[in-house]
């Protein structure tokens, strides 16, 4: 294993310190927890947004802390949900009295830990609501699984619910918008090489030299199938078909698109993918309101990408276009 780290046990702590050192005017770390918060928190008169999860998906979620998006991000160990006490510290640090919305990605551990933190906060009479993001169409959404995973689409929930909170909306209002984004967003990914969890020191899975896995999760969870590597256009078409089968879009409707690199995929290749995404949507008469190409929800050093499509209405469009200024996501 080749990694530029000091100690596998210190990766999260070292990273958080480095992030704060890079953005001291925007974010700070809580002394007693692995939590990044807005420097001006708690923001008076505003519902606070808290998200988080296992580390290894940078810039998620600490990179999205700032005006117009999150108030706090809780960083667990690599690919491991943060514990309830950490989430609870985040809630306490950012609540202005107007309530807190927890944005949780749909993983068994994340849900349990965040819900326990909610129970703890409610005992202190802090008003807390939760939403669960499950945008990954690679997982069959049945009662016999833990359900669809939360992946890159989560960034759109941060952006849009964050913008709603900035308007001074109530906790109910912010939660309603977050739920609307969740029901309108779909993603699917693929991988051509594995990631290595620092403490484990070996790849999570192995793929043959010419092999790819379609539908791979952001922790290397199994996707729908493995096959021989195809062209960017063919892969993109397959992912887009799966996404568009799952969300009803008719000609004339508007969407936002995110082409997300998992970390080791060059921007050149992400743009090649985006070219095809654009062609597919254009052909169907679907208008692209905004496109985001880059690294938003990574998976350590995994190579691969995901595509996210968010169906917009006038409310979501306005909130997506509202200003945001965070270390990793800016809308001016």
């Amino acid at each position: 294993m080749k990694k530029i780290i000091n100690d596998p046990n210190l990766v999260v702590e070292d990273m958080l310190r480095g992030m704060v050192a890079a953005h001291p005017k925007d974010i700070k770390k809580l002394d007693n927890a692995d939590v990044l918060v807005r420097v001006d928190s708690p923001v008076e008169g505003k519902v606070a947004l808290v998200s988080g999860g296992g580390s290894g998906h940078e810039p998620a979620h600490g990179g999205y802390v700032g005006k117009g998006m999150l108030d706090a991000a809780v960083a667990g160990a690599v690919f491991t949900s943060p514990t309830p006490d950490q989430v609870y510290e985040a809630i306490k640090a950012v609540d202005s009295g107007k309530g807190v919305l927890l944005v949780i990605k749909n993983y068994t551990g994340d849900i349990m830990n965040f819900e326990m933190a909610k129970d703890m906060a409610e005992m202190e009479e802090i008003n807390v609501k939760t939403v669960v993001v499950n945008d990954d169409v690679a997982v069959e959404n049945s009662t016999y699984t833990a359900g669809r995973r939360g992946i890159a689409g989560t960034v759109f929930i941060h952006k849009i619910a964050g913008a709603k909170a900035e308007t001074g909306a109530s906790l109910e209002g912010v939660t309603r918008v977050a739920e609307k984004v969740i029901s309108n967003v779909r993603s699917m990914g693929m991988a051509i090489s594995s990631c290595i969890v620092p403490a484990a020191g070996k790849p999570n899975f192995t793929l043959g030299e010419t092999e790819m896995e379609i539908g791979m999760g952001i922790h290397g969870e199994p996707g729908t199938h493995r096959e021989k590597l195809k062209t960017a256009d063919e892969i993109t078409e397959h992912l887009m078909n799966k996404i568009l089968e799952d969300i009803q879009l008719s000609s004339g409707e508007e969407v936002a698109v995110m082409v997300n690199g998992l970390s080791s995929t060059p921007l050149m290749e992400l743009y090649i993918v985006n070219k095809k995404v654009n062609e597919i949507l254009e052909e169907k008469g679907i208008k692209i309101h905004r496109t985001f190409v880059g690294e938003f929800m990574t998976s350590l050093e995994m190579a691969g990408f995901s595509v996210t499509v968010l169906k917009l209405d006038s409310e979501l469009k306005e909130l997506l276009d509202a200003p945001a200024n965070t270390p990793a996501f800016k809308v001016i």
Binding site: P84, T108, H219
Partner: protein
Amino acid sequence: MSIQGKKVIQVLVKISEKIDENKAYLSELDAAIGDGDHGLNLNKGFKAVIEKIKEDDGSDIGGILKKAGMALVSNVGGASGPLYGTAFMKAAMSVNGKSEIDMSDFSKMLEDALEGIKMRGKGQANDKTMIDAIEPASNSIKHGIAQGLEAKEVLKLAKEAAYKGVEHTKEIIARKGRASYLGERSLGHQDAGATSSAIIIETIYEALN
């Protein structure tokens, strides 16, 4: 059989040692169908439990178990932290303020722990989880007490029921947690959570023997 608070602390120390001995085995089971950190995370959690309770005077068994639950919740992470943490905290509530407990108290503790796990994880038997080891053990204890068996025999049967439940997890498809994404590919694999639960129940049997 009457169990004093000091004995409860000794049992927890034994559990911590047993988890340490089995940490690689548990992580290996987890790696096949999960993310491979169950043994390491649980070991870290029980080490924290021992730190929290080693100075305890043993006068309140509920208090000891509550401290253990809190330590597990804030140190294990993932799914097993909240599940084992909730289990210990629910067990604590049923023996609050007691300085000694008997078999019927233990039976109630395990039953409440099981209910806590089901509530927290929204799971049930046959989901291929720790419930598949704990539920048969809990039922076996209730049955043994009703039959008027000796405490030692009751615990031995409970341990056997737990391991039978672990074996059963090989034959069923995971419906909860990360393993559930595998669907039928989870067949044939033994659940790591059920295994750690059976190890804990076995250790209780051995320590009280």
